[in-house]
Protein backbone atom coordinates (compact mmCIF):
# COMPACT_ATOMS: atom_id res chain seq x y z
CA UNK A 1 0.00 0.00 0.00
CA UNK A 2 2.82 2.42 0.57
CA UNK A 3 3.36 3.56 -2.96
CA UNK A 4 6.85 3.89 -4.26
CA UNK A 5 7.63 7.56 -4.14
CA UNK A 6 10.72 9.28 -5.38
CA UNK A 7 13.05 10.76 -2.82
CA UNK A 8 12.55 14.16 -4.34
CA UNK A 9 8.79 14.08 -3.79
CA UNK A 10 9.29 12.74 -0.32
CA UNK A 11 11.63 15.65 0.46
CA UNK A 12 9.13 18.20 -0.88
CA UNK A 13 6.27 16.67 1.11
CA UNK A 14 8.37 16.63 4.21
CA UNK A 15 9.53 20.21 3.78
CA UNK A 16 6.08 21.67 3.17
CA UNK A 17 4.47 19.65 5.95
CA UNK A 18 7.13 20.61 8.50
CA UNK A 19 6.90 24.29 7.67
CA UNK A 20 3.12 24.28 8.02
CA UNK A 21 3.18 22.16 11.16
CA UNK A 22 5.71 24.44 12.84
CA UNK A 23 3.64 27.49 11.90
CA UNK A 24 0.52 25.93 13.41
CA UNK A 25 2.39 24.84 16.52
CA UNK A 26 4.30 28.10 16.86
CA UNK A 27 1.93 29.92 19.28
CA UNK A 28 2.25 27.01 21.72
CA UNK A 29 6.01 26.83 21.31
CA UNK A 30 6.30 30.60 21.75
CA UNK A 31 4.21 30.46 24.93
CA UNK A 32 6.39 27.74 26.39
CA UNK A 33 9.59 29.61 25.50
CA UNK A 34 8.27 32.91 26.86
CA UNK A 35 7.41 31.29 30.16
CA UNK A 36 11.15 30.87 30.79
CA UNK A 37 12.07 34.47 30.00
CA UNK A 38 12.18 37.52 32.22
CA UNK A 39 9.41 40.05 31.61
CA UNK A 40 11.93 42.35 29.92
CA UNK A 41 13.14 39.63 27.56
CA UNK A 42 9.57 38.62 26.83
CA UNK A 43 8.82 41.95 25.16
CA UNK A 44 12.30 42.52 23.77
CA UNK A 45 12.48 44.11 20.33
CA UNK A 46 13.63 42.28 18.28
CA UNK A 47 12.12 39.17 19.89
CA UNK A 48 14.57 36.69 21.39
CA UNK A 49 14.02 33.13 20.33
CA UNK A 50 16.33 30.80 22.26
CA UNK A 51 19.37 32.77 23.33
CA UNK A 52 18.23 34.14 26.66
CA UNK A 53 18.87 33.41 30.32
CA UNK A 54 16.38 30.72 31.11
CA UNK A 55 14.61 31.29 34.40
CA UNK A 56 11.94 29.59 36.48
CA UNK A 57 10.99 32.71 38.40
CA UNK A 58 7.69 33.17 36.55
CA UNK A 59 6.48 29.80 37.71
CA UNK A 60 7.33 30.71 41.29
CA UNK A 61 5.70 34.13 41.04
CA UNK A 62 2.52 32.76 39.52
CA UNK A 63 2.19 30.24 42.33
CA UNK A 64 3.00 32.77 45.08
CA UNK A 65 0.71 35.51 43.87
CA UNK A 66 -2.39 33.56 43.13
CA UNK A 67 -2.09 30.15 44.68
CA UNK A 68 -1.94 28.58 41.25
CA UNK A 69 -1.84 25.09 42.69
CA UNK A 70 -5.32 25.49 44.12
CA UNK A 71 -6.79 26.22 40.70
CA UNK A 72 -4.79 23.41 39.17
CA UNK A 73 -6.28 21.04 41.74
CA UNK A 74 -9.74 22.43 41.01
CA UNK A 75 -9.22 21.49 37.38
CA UNK A 76 -8.03 18.01 38.34
CA UNK A 77 -10.90 17.38 40.76
CA UNK A 78 -13.55 18.72 38.41
CA UNK A 79 -12.37 16.99 35.24
CA UNK A 80 -11.42 13.65 36.80
CA UNK A 81 -14.37 13.66 39.19
CA UNK A 82 -16.97 14.38 36.54
CA UNK A 83 -15.41 11.79 34.24
CA UNK A 84 -15.38 9.01 36.84
CA UNK A 85 -18.95 9.66 37.94
CA UNK A 86 -19.98 9.85 34.30
CA UNK A 87 -18.34 6.48 33.60
CA UNK A 88 -20.04 4.94 36.61
CA UNK A 89 -23.43 5.99 35.31
CA UNK A 90 -22.70 5.33 31.64
CA UNK A 91 -20.98 1.94 31.70
CA UNK A 92 -24.11 -0.02 32.70
CA UNK A 93 -26.21 1.91 30.21
CA UNK A 94 -23.80 1.42 27.32
CA UNK A 95 -23.31 -2.22 28.25
CA UNK A 96 -27.04 -2.88 28.26
CA UNK A 97 -27.61 -1.06 24.97
CA UNK A 98 -24.75 -2.86 23.24
CA UNK A 99 -25.53 -6.38 24.43
CA UNK A 100 -29.26 -6.40 25.11
CA UNK A 101 -30.50 -4.05 22.41
CA UNK A 102 -34.24 -3.50 22.42
CA UNK A 103 -36.56 -1.83 19.97
CA UNK A 104 -36.03 1.53 21.63
CA UNK A 105 -32.23 1.41 21.93
CA UNK A 106 -31.57 3.47 18.84
CA UNK A 107 -34.12 6.08 19.84
CA UNK A 108 -32.67 6.35 23.31
CA UNK A 109 -29.18 6.82 21.90
CA UNK A 110 -30.33 9.46 19.45
CA UNK A 111 -32.25 11.25 22.14
CA UNK A 112 -29.21 11.30 24.42
CA UNK A 113 -27.22 12.79 21.59
CA UNK A 114 -29.84 15.46 21.07
CA UNK A 115 -29.33 16.71 24.64
CA UNK A 116 -25.73 17.46 23.65
CA UNK A 117 -26.97 19.73 20.87
CA UNK A 118 -28.66 22.03 23.33
CA UNK A 119 -26.70 25.31 23.36
CA UNK A 120 -25.50 25.89 26.93
CA UNK A 121 -26.59 29.51 26.82
CA UNK A 122 -30.19 28.30 26.43
CA UNK A 123 -30.18 27.06 30.00
CA UNK A 124 -27.72 29.56 31.48
CA UNK A 125 -30.31 31.57 33.42
CA UNK A 126 -32.12 28.70 35.18
CA UNK A 127 -28.89 26.94 35.99
CA UNK A 128 -27.38 30.09 37.42
CA UNK A 129 -30.47 30.64 39.58
CA UNK A 130 -30.61 27.01 40.73
CA UNK A 131 -26.94 27.18 41.63
CA UNK A 132 -27.45 30.45 43.49
CA UNK A 133 -30.44 29.17 45.45
CA UNK A 134 -28.80 25.90 46.46
CA UNK A 135 -25.43 27.37 47.34
CA UNK A 136 -23.68 25.62 44.45
CA UNK A 137 -22.17 28.73 42.84
CA UNK A 138 -18.39 28.64 42.96
CA UNK A 139 -18.21 25.13 44.40
CA UNK A 140 -16.34 22.15 43.00
CA UNK A 141 -19.29 19.85 43.54
CA UNK A 142 -21.56 22.12 41.48
CA UNK A 143 -19.20 22.02 38.52
CA UNK A 144 -18.70 18.28 38.83
CA UNK A 145 -22.48 17.86 38.53
CA UNK A 146 -22.78 20.11 35.48
CA UNK A 147 -19.78 18.64 33.65
CA UNK A 148 -20.94 15.09 34.38
CA UNK A 149 -24.29 15.86 32.81
CA UNK A 150 -23.04 17.73 29.76
CA UNK A 151 -20.52 15.00 28.93
CA UNK A 152 -22.69 12.01 29.80
CA UNK A 153 -24.06 11.65 26.25
CA UNK A 154 -20.53 11.57 24.80
CA UNK A 155 -19.44 8.99 27.36
CA UNK A 156 -22.43 6.72 26.70
CA UNK A 157 -21.93 7.02 22.97
CA UNK A 158 -18.22 6.33 22.99
CA UNK A 159 -18.60 3.35 25.28
CA UNK A 160 -21.45 2.07 23.15
CA UNK A 161 -19.37 2.18 19.95
CA UNK A 162 -16.56 0.32 21.71
CA UNK A 163 -18.78 -2.27 23.39
CA UNK A 164 -20.55 -2.97 20.13
CA UNK A 165 -17.27 -4.17 18.68
CA UNK A 166 -16.92 -6.88 21.32
CA UNK A 167 -18.03 -10.11 19.61
CA UNK A 168 -21.22 -11.44 21.19
CA UNK A 169 -20.30 -15.02 20.24
CA UNK A 170 -17.77 -15.07 23.02
CA UNK A 171 -20.44 -14.22 25.54
CA UNK A 172 -22.70 -16.93 24.21
CA UNK A 173 -19.92 -19.48 24.40
CA UNK A 174 -19.29 -18.50 27.99
CA UNK A 175 -22.98 -18.82 28.80
CA UNK A 176 -23.04 -22.30 27.31
CA UNK A 177 -20.18 -23.17 29.58
CA UNK A 178 -22.35 -22.09 32.46
CA UNK A 179 -20.87 -18.68 33.23
CA UNK A 180 -23.29 -16.53 35.22
CA UNK A 181 -23.88 -12.88 34.59
CA UNK A 182 -21.33 -11.77 37.15
CA UNK A 183 -18.51 -13.97 35.93
CA UNK A 184 -19.44 -13.03 32.36
CA UNK A 185 -18.91 -9.40 33.22
CA UNK A 186 -15.87 -9.96 35.40
CA UNK A 187 -13.79 -12.37 33.35
CA UNK A 188 -14.81 -11.84 29.77
CA UNK A 189 -16.31 -8.46 29.24
CA UNK A 190 -14.16 -6.36 31.52
CA UNK A 191 -10.80 -7.27 29.98
CA UNK A 192 -12.20 -6.67 26.51
CA UNK A 193 -13.84 -3.43 27.50
CA UNK A 194 -10.90 -1.87 29.32
CA UNK A 195 -9.26 -0.25 26.28
CA UNK A 196 -12.53 1.37 25.26
CA UNK A 197 -13.19 2.60 28.77
CA UNK A 198 -9.65 3.97 29.04
CA UNK A 199 -10.01 5.90 25.77
CA UNK A 200 -13.34 7.29 26.87
CA UNK A 201 -11.83 8.34 30.18
CA UNK A 202 -8.94 10.09 28.47
CA UNK A 203 -11.03 12.00 25.95
CA UNK A 204 -13.56 13.02 28.52
CA UNK A 205 -10.95 14.37 30.92
CA UNK A 206 -9.60 16.46 28.06
CA UNK A 207 -13.05 17.83 27.24
CA UNK A 208 -13.85 18.57 30.88
CA UNK A 209 -10.46 20.16 31.52
CA UNK A 210 -10.96 22.61 28.66
CA UNK A 211 -14.66 23.34 29.20
CA UNK A 212 -14.97 27.10 29.30
CA UNK A 213 -18.61 28.09 29.38
CA UNK A 214 -19.90 26.73 32.66
CA UNK A 215 -16.57 27.04 34.43
CA UNK A 216 -16.48 30.74 33.56
CA UNK A 217 -20.08 31.44 34.46
CA UNK A 218 -20.49 29.39 37.61
CA UNK A 219 -17.23 29.95 39.47
CA UNK A 220 -15.32 32.79 41.08
CA UNK A 221 -12.21 32.83 43.27
CA UNK A 222 -12.90 29.64 45.18
CA UNK A 223 -13.67 26.80 42.80
CA UNK A 224 -12.34 28.33 39.59
CA UNK A 225 -10.47 25.75 37.52
CA UNK A 226 -7.62 26.84 35.26
CA UNK A 227 -9.92 27.88 32.39
CA UNK A 228 -11.54 30.49 34.62
CA UNK A 229 -8.35 31.38 36.49
CA UNK A 230 -6.48 32.13 33.26
CA UNK A 231 -9.38 34.34 32.16
CA UNK A 232 -8.51 36.62 35.08
CA UNK A 233 -5.31 37.42 33.17
CA UNK A 234 -7.31 39.15 30.47
CA UNK A 235 -6.22 42.53 31.81
CA UNK A 236 -3.96 44.02 32.87
CA UNK A 237 -1.98 40.98 34.04
CA UNK A 238 -2.07 39.65 30.50
CA UNK A 239 0.49 42.27 29.60
CA UNK A 240 3.01 40.45 31.76
CA UNK A 241 3.79 37.98 29.00
CA UNK A 242 6.19 35.81 30.89
CA UNK A 243 3.80 35.21 33.76
CA UNK A 244 0.84 34.71 31.44
CA UNK A 245 2.97 32.19 29.58
CA UNK A 246 4.00 30.33 32.71
CA UNK A 247 0.41 30.09 33.91
CA UNK A 248 -0.69 29.00 30.43
CA UNK A 249 2.04 26.43 29.97
CA UNK A 250 1.16 24.67 33.21
CA UNK A 251 -2.52 24.76 32.26
CA UNK A 252 -2.08 23.15 28.85
CA UNK A 253 0.92 20.84 29.33
CA UNK A 254 -0.80 17.85 30.98
CA UNK A 255 -3.72 17.89 28.58
CA UNK A 256 -1.49 18.37 25.54
CA UNK A 257 0.36 15.18 26.40
CA UNK A 258 -2.87 13.28 27.02
CA UNK A 259 -4.23 14.60 23.75
CA UNK A 260 -1.28 13.30 21.79
CA UNK A 261 -2.05 9.82 23.05
CA UNK A 262 -5.73 9.98 22.21
CA UNK A 263 -5.77 11.21 18.60
CA UNK A 264 -7.72 8.22 17.30
CA UNK A 265 -10.24 8.21 20.11
CA UNK A 266 -10.80 11.90 19.58
CA UNK A 267 -12.14 11.26 16.10
CA UNK A 268 -14.45 8.53 17.27
CA UNK A 269 -15.63 10.37 20.36
CA UNK A 270 -16.31 13.70 18.75
CA UNK A 271 -18.04 12.38 15.66
CA UNK A 272 -20.18 9.92 17.62
CA UNK A 273 -18.86 7.08 15.52
CA UNK A 274 -19.78 8.77 12.25
CA UNK A 275 -16.12 8.79 11.20
CA UNK A 276 -13.75 6.09 12.37
Amino acid sequence: MARAVSNRRMAINTGVAWVLAILIFFPILWTILTSFKTEATAIADPPVFLAFDWTLENYETVQERSNYFRHFMNSVVISVGSTLIGLLIAIPAAWAMAFVPGRQTKNVLMWMLSTKMLPPVGVLVPLYLIFRDYGLLDTRIGLVIVLTLINLPIIVWMLYTYFREIPVDILEAARMDGAGLSSEVLYILTPMAVPGIASTLLLNIILAWNEAFWTLNLTAANAAPLTAFIASYSSPEGLFYAKLSAASTMAIAPILVMGWFSQRQLVRGLTFGAVK
Partner: protein, 290 residues
Protein backbone atom coordinates in the same frame (compact mmCIF):
# COMPACT_ATOMS: atom_id res chain seq x y z
CA UNK B 1 -31.29 -14.30 22.85
CA UNK B 2 -32.37 -11.63 25.28
CA UNK B 3 -34.66 -13.08 27.88
CA UNK B 4 -37.41 -11.32 29.75
CA UNK B 5 -35.07 -11.25 32.71
CA UNK B 6 -32.16 -9.67 30.91
CA UNK B 7 -34.50 -7.12 29.31
CA UNK B 8 -35.59 -5.97 32.74
CA UNK B 9 -31.97 -5.83 33.90
CA UNK B 10 -31.05 -3.82 30.83
CA UNK B 11 -33.77 -1.31 31.48
CA UNK B 12 -32.58 -0.99 35.05
CA UNK B 13 -29.03 -0.34 33.85
CA UNK B 14 -30.06 2.30 31.35
CA UNK B 15 -32.44 4.08 33.72
CA UNK B 16 -29.95 6.26 35.65
CA UNK B 17 -28.50 7.81 32.49
CA UNK B 18 -31.91 8.42 31.01
CA UNK B 19 -33.42 9.87 34.17
CA UNK B 20 -30.46 12.19 34.76
CA UNK B 21 -30.39 13.46 31.20
CA UNK B 22 -34.15 13.85 31.17
CA UNK B 23 -33.99 15.96 34.33
CA UNK B 24 -31.01 17.89 32.97
CA UNK B 25 -32.96 18.69 29.83
CA UNK B 26 -36.50 19.23 31.03
CA UNK B 27 -36.02 21.20 34.25
CA UNK B 28 -33.75 24.02 33.01
CA UNK B 29 -35.42 24.05 29.61
CA UNK B 30 -38.85 24.35 31.18
CA UNK B 31 -37.57 27.13 33.42
CA UNK B 32 -36.04 29.02 30.51
CA UNK B 33 -39.30 28.78 28.62
CA UNK B 34 -41.31 29.92 31.65
CA UNK B 35 -38.97 32.83 32.49
CA UNK B 36 -39.09 33.99 28.88
CA UNK B 37 -42.75 34.91 29.40
CA UNK B 38 -42.16 36.87 32.63
CA UNK B 39 -41.05 40.39 33.35
CA UNK B 40 -38.25 39.27 35.59
CA UNK B 41 -35.16 41.29 36.53
CA UNK B 42 -32.88 40.25 39.37
CA UNK B 43 -32.19 43.90 40.17
CA UNK B 44 -35.90 44.60 40.65
CA UNK B 45 -37.20 42.08 43.14
CA UNK B 46 -40.94 41.65 43.56
CA UNK B 47 -43.71 40.18 41.51
CA UNK B 48 -42.65 38.79 38.17
CA UNK B 49 -45.79 39.29 36.09
CA UNK B 50 -46.63 37.21 33.05
CA UNK B 51 -46.13 39.36 29.96
CA UNK B 52 -46.68 36.95 27.09
CA UNK B 53 -44.34 37.53 24.17
CA UNK B 54 -43.14 40.95 25.35
CA UNK B 55 -39.59 39.71 26.01
CA UNK B 56 -39.40 38.12 22.58
CA UNK B 57 -40.67 41.29 20.93
CA UNK B 58 -38.09 43.29 22.87
CA UNK B 59 -35.21 40.90 22.21
CA UNK B 60 -35.95 40.39 18.52
CA UNK B 61 -36.54 44.06 17.77
CA UNK B 62 -33.35 45.16 19.52
CA UNK B 63 -30.88 46.18 16.77
CA UNK B 64 -28.19 44.44 18.82
CA UNK B 65 -29.96 41.16 18.13
CA UNK B 66 -29.64 41.58 14.37
CA UNK B 67 -25.99 42.58 14.76
CA UNK B 68 -25.28 39.59 16.99
CA UNK B 69 -27.10 37.26 14.62
CA UNK B 70 -25.01 38.50 11.70
CA UNK B 71 -21.87 38.22 13.84
CA UNK B 72 -22.81 34.68 14.79
CA UNK B 73 -23.27 33.71 11.14
CA UNK B 74 -20.01 35.42 10.12
CA UNK B 75 -18.14 33.73 12.95
CA UNK B 76 -19.51 30.27 12.19
CA UNK B 77 -19.21 30.72 8.42
CA UNK B 78 -15.75 32.24 8.53
CA UNK B 79 -14.32 29.57 10.78
CA UNK B 80 -15.99 26.81 8.75
CA UNK B 81 -14.53 28.05 5.47
CA UNK B 82 -11.03 28.42 6.90
CA UNK B 83 -10.99 25.11 8.78
CA UNK B 84 -12.63 22.99 6.10
CA UNK B 85 -10.53 24.32 3.22
CA UNK B 86 -7.38 24.28 5.36
CA UNK B 87 -8.30 20.88 6.78
CA UNK B 88 -8.73 19.33 3.34
CA UNK B 89 -5.39 20.74 2.25
CA UNK B 90 -3.60 19.51 5.35
CA UNK B 91 -5.29 16.10 5.22
CA UNK B 92 -4.21 15.59 1.61
CA UNK B 93 -0.68 16.70 2.49
CA UNK B 94 -0.33 14.63 5.67
CA UNK B 95 -1.67 11.57 3.84
CA UNK B 96 1.46 11.65 1.65
CA UNK B 97 4.52 9.68 2.65
CA UNK B 98 7.09 11.84 4.43
CA UNK B 99 9.75 11.82 7.10
CA UNK B 100 8.60 12.43 10.67
CA UNK B 101 4.86 11.95 10.11
CA UNK B 102 4.26 11.32 13.81
CA UNK B 103 5.82 14.56 14.97
CA UNK B 104 4.19 16.61 12.21
CA UNK B 105 0.83 15.23 13.16
CA UNK B 106 1.32 15.95 16.86
CA UNK B 107 2.24 19.55 16.09
CA UNK B 108 -0.76 20.02 13.82
CA UNK B 109 -3.36 18.69 16.24
CA UNK B 110 -1.95 20.37 19.34
CA UNK B 111 -3.95 23.62 19.20
CA UNK B 112 -7.13 21.63 19.71
CA UNK B 113 -6.01 20.71 23.23
CA UNK B 114 -5.28 24.26 24.33
CA UNK B 115 -8.05 25.56 26.54
CA UNK B 116 -10.04 28.39 24.93
CA UNK B 117 -9.08 31.03 27.49
CA UNK B 118 -5.38 30.31 27.06
CA UNK B 119 -5.41 30.41 23.28
CA UNK B 120 -7.48 33.58 23.26
CA UNK B 121 -5.17 35.37 25.72
CA UNK B 122 -1.98 34.18 24.06
CA UNK B 123 -3.17 35.42 20.67
CA UNK B 124 -4.56 38.63 22.10
CA UNK B 125 -1.47 39.65 24.07
CA UNK B 126 1.55 37.97 22.61
CA UNK B 127 0.58 38.15 18.94
CA UNK B 128 -2.10 40.75 18.30
CA UNK B 129 -1.06 43.40 20.80
CA UNK B 130 -0.32 46.51 18.72
CA UNK B 131 2.74 47.48 20.80
CA UNK B 132 4.50 44.36 22.05
CA UNK B 133 2.85 41.62 20.02
CA UNK B 134 4.81 39.58 17.51
CA UNK B 135 2.61 40.82 14.66
CA UNK B 136 3.52 44.40 15.59
CA UNK B 137 7.17 43.38 15.29
CA UNK B 138 6.54 41.80 11.90
CA UNK B 139 4.78 44.99 10.79
CA UNK B 140 7.77 47.01 11.99
CA UNK B 141 10.17 44.84 10.01
CA UNK B 142 7.98 45.16 6.92
CA UNK B 143 7.78 48.89 7.48
CA UNK B 144 3.98 49.05 7.72
CA UNK B 145 2.08 50.61 10.63
CA UNK B 146 1.08 48.20 13.40
CA UNK B 147 -2.51 47.03 13.24
CA UNK B 148 -4.64 46.90 16.37
CA UNK B 149 -6.38 43.66 15.50
CA UNK B 150 -8.93 43.38 18.29
CA UNK B 151 -9.98 47.03 18.06
CA UNK B 152 -9.95 47.55 14.32
CA UNK B 153 -11.09 44.11 13.21
CA UNK B 154 -12.42 42.40 16.34
CA UNK B 155 -14.65 39.83 14.68
CA UNK B 156 -12.09 38.87 12.04
CA UNK B 157 -9.45 38.50 14.75
CA UNK B 158 -11.70 36.21 16.77
CA UNK B 159 -12.45 34.21 13.63
CA UNK B 160 -8.68 33.80 13.26
CA UNK B 161 -8.19 32.63 16.83
CA UNK B 162 -11.10 30.19 16.72
CA UNK B 163 -9.98 28.85 13.34
CA UNK B 164 -6.56 28.09 14.82
CA UNK B 165 -8.28 26.07 17.53
CA UNK B 166 -10.55 24.12 15.17
CA UNK B 167 -8.27 23.56 12.18
CA UNK B 168 -6.71 20.53 13.92
CA UNK B 169 -10.13 18.98 14.47
CA UNK B 170 -11.08 19.27 10.80
CA UNK B 171 -7.66 18.04 9.74
CA UNK B 172 -7.70 15.04 12.04
CA UNK B 173 -11.15 13.89 10.96
CA UNK B 174 -10.54 14.44 7.28
CA UNK B 175 -7.18 12.69 7.54
CA UNK B 176 -8.83 9.72 9.22
CA UNK B 177 -11.39 9.57 6.44
CA UNK B 178 -8.69 9.96 3.82
CA UNK B 179 -6.81 6.97 5.15
CA UNK B 180 -9.81 4.74 4.55
CA UNK B 181 -9.58 5.51 0.84
CA UNK B 182 -8.74 2.45 -1.20
CA UNK B 183 -5.24 3.07 -2.54
CA UNK B 184 -5.75 0.72 -5.47
CA UNK B 185 -8.27 3.09 -6.92
CA UNK B 186 -5.74 5.91 -6.77
CA UNK B 187 -3.03 3.77 -8.28
CA UNK B 188 -5.30 2.72 -11.12
CA UNK B 189 -6.14 6.35 -11.79
CA UNK B 190 -2.47 7.27 -11.70
CA UNK B 191 -1.60 4.53 -14.18
CA UNK B 192 -4.35 5.71 -16.48
CA UNK B 193 -2.58 9.03 -16.48
CA UNK B 194 -4.92 11.05 -14.26
CA UNK B 195 -3.20 14.19 -13.04
CA UNK B 196 -2.77 14.91 -9.31
CA UNK B 197 -5.46 17.57 -9.59
CA UNK B 198 -8.03 15.30 -11.20
CA UNK B 199 -7.20 12.50 -8.75
CA UNK B 200 -7.96 14.98 -5.98
CA UNK B 201 -11.11 16.31 -7.62
CA UNK B 202 -12.66 13.06 -8.84
CA UNK B 203 -11.51 10.52 -6.24
CA UNK B 204 -10.32 12.10 -2.98
CA UNK B 205 -12.83 14.92 -2.64
CA UNK B 206 -15.93 12.76 -3.28
CA UNK B 207 -14.55 10.21 -0.82
CA UNK B 208 -14.24 12.97 1.79
CA UNK B 209 -17.74 14.35 1.19
CA UNK B 210 -19.30 12.53 4.10
CA UNK B 211 -16.53 13.41 6.55
CA UNK B 212 -16.71 17.05 5.44
CA UNK B 213 -20.41 17.10 6.22
CA UNK B 214 -19.75 15.67 9.66
CA UNK B 215 -17.04 18.26 10.32
CA UNK B 216 -19.29 21.10 9.20
CA UNK B 217 -22.22 19.99 11.33
CA UNK B 218 -20.28 19.21 14.50
CA UNK B 219 -18.23 22.37 14.31
CA UNK B 220 -21.37 24.41 13.73
CA UNK B 221 -22.89 23.07 16.95
CA UNK B 222 -19.79 24.11 18.90
CA UNK B 223 -19.18 27.36 17.03
CA UNK B 224 -22.70 28.62 17.66
CA UNK B 225 -21.74 28.57 21.35
CA UNK B 226 -18.38 30.35 21.16
CA UNK B 227 -18.09 32.31 24.38
CA UNK B 228 -14.78 32.23 26.26
CA UNK B 229 -12.77 33.56 23.31
CA UNK B 230 -15.02 36.61 23.09
CA UNK B 231 -15.16 37.17 26.84
CA UNK B 232 -11.41 37.38 27.34
CA UNK B 233 -10.47 39.22 24.16
CA UNK B 234 -13.08 41.89 23.43
CA UNK B 235 -15.98 41.48 25.84
CA UNK B 236 -18.15 41.57 22.74
CA UNK B 237 -16.87 44.99 21.70
CA UNK B 238 -15.93 47.55 20.69
CA UNK B 239 -19.61 48.37 21.07
CA UNK B 240 -21.21 45.15 19.94
CA UNK B 241 -18.85 44.56 17.02
CA UNK B 242 -17.89 41.08 18.22
CA UNK B 243 -21.00 40.12 20.16
CA UNK B 244 -22.50 36.83 19.03
CA UNK B 245 -25.83 35.41 20.11
CA UNK B 246 -24.34 33.41 22.98
CA UNK B 247 -22.52 36.44 24.32
CA UNK B 248 -25.61 38.63 23.96
CA UNK B 249 -27.73 36.24 26.00
CA UNK B 250 -24.97 36.07 28.61
CA UNK B 251 -24.84 39.87 28.75
CA UNK B 252 -28.62 40.21 29.10
CA UNK B 253 -28.79 37.56 31.79
CA UNK B 254 -25.69 37.89 33.93
CA UNK B 255 -24.52 41.45 33.25
CA UNK B 256 -27.87 43.24 33.02
CA UNK B 257 -29.65 40.62 35.17
CA UNK B 258 -32.64 40.70 32.86
CA UNK B 259 -33.79 37.11 33.31
CA UNK B 260 -36.88 37.52 31.12
CA UNK B 261 -35.09 38.89 28.07
CA UNK B 262 -32.10 36.60 28.58
CA UNK B 263 -34.41 33.60 28.63
CA UNK B 264 -36.19 34.71 25.47
CA UNK B 265 -32.76 35.01 23.85
CA UNK B 266 -31.88 31.54 25.14
CA UNK B 267 -34.96 30.11 23.46
CA UNK B 268 -33.99 31.81 20.19
CA UNK B 269 -30.49 30.30 20.48
CA UNK B 270 -31.96 26.85 21.08
CA UNK B 271 -34.18 27.12 18.00
CA UNK B 272 -31.20 28.14 15.86
CA UNK B 273 -29.04 25.28 17.14
CA UNK B 274 -31.85 22.82 16.57
CA UNK B 275 -32.02 23.64 12.89
CA UNK B 276 -28.43 22.43 12.56
CA UNK B 277 -28.92 19.57 15.01
CA UNK B 278 -31.69 17.99 12.96
CA UNK B 279 -29.38 17.54 9.97
CA UNK B 280 -26.55 16.21 12.12
CA UNK B 281 -28.79 13.74 13.93
CA UNK B 282 -30.06 12.39 10.62
CA UNK B 283 -26.52 11.70 9.43
CA UNK B 284 -25.44 10.01 12.62
CA UNK B 285 -28.68 8.03 12.79
CA UNK B 286 -28.12 6.67 9.29
CA UNK B 287 -24.69 5.55 10.35
CA UNK B 288 -26.14 3.68 13.32
CA UNK B 289 -28.18 1.45 11.06
CA UNK B 290 -25.21 0.54 8.92
Amino acid sequence: MATQHSRAAARFMIAPSVILLLAWMLIPLGMTLWFSFLRYNLLMPGANPFVGFENYAYFLSDPTFITSLINTLLLVGGVLIITVVGGIGLAVLLDQPMWGTGIVRIMVISPFFVMPTVSALVWKNMFMNPVNGLFAYVAEVLGVPAFDFLTQAPLASIIGIVSWQWLPFATLILLTAMQSLDSEQLEAAEMDGASALSRFWYIKLPHLARAITVVVLIQTIFLLSIFAEILVTTNGGPGVASTNLTYLVYAESLLRFDVGTGSAGGVVAIILANIVAIFLMRMIGKNLDA
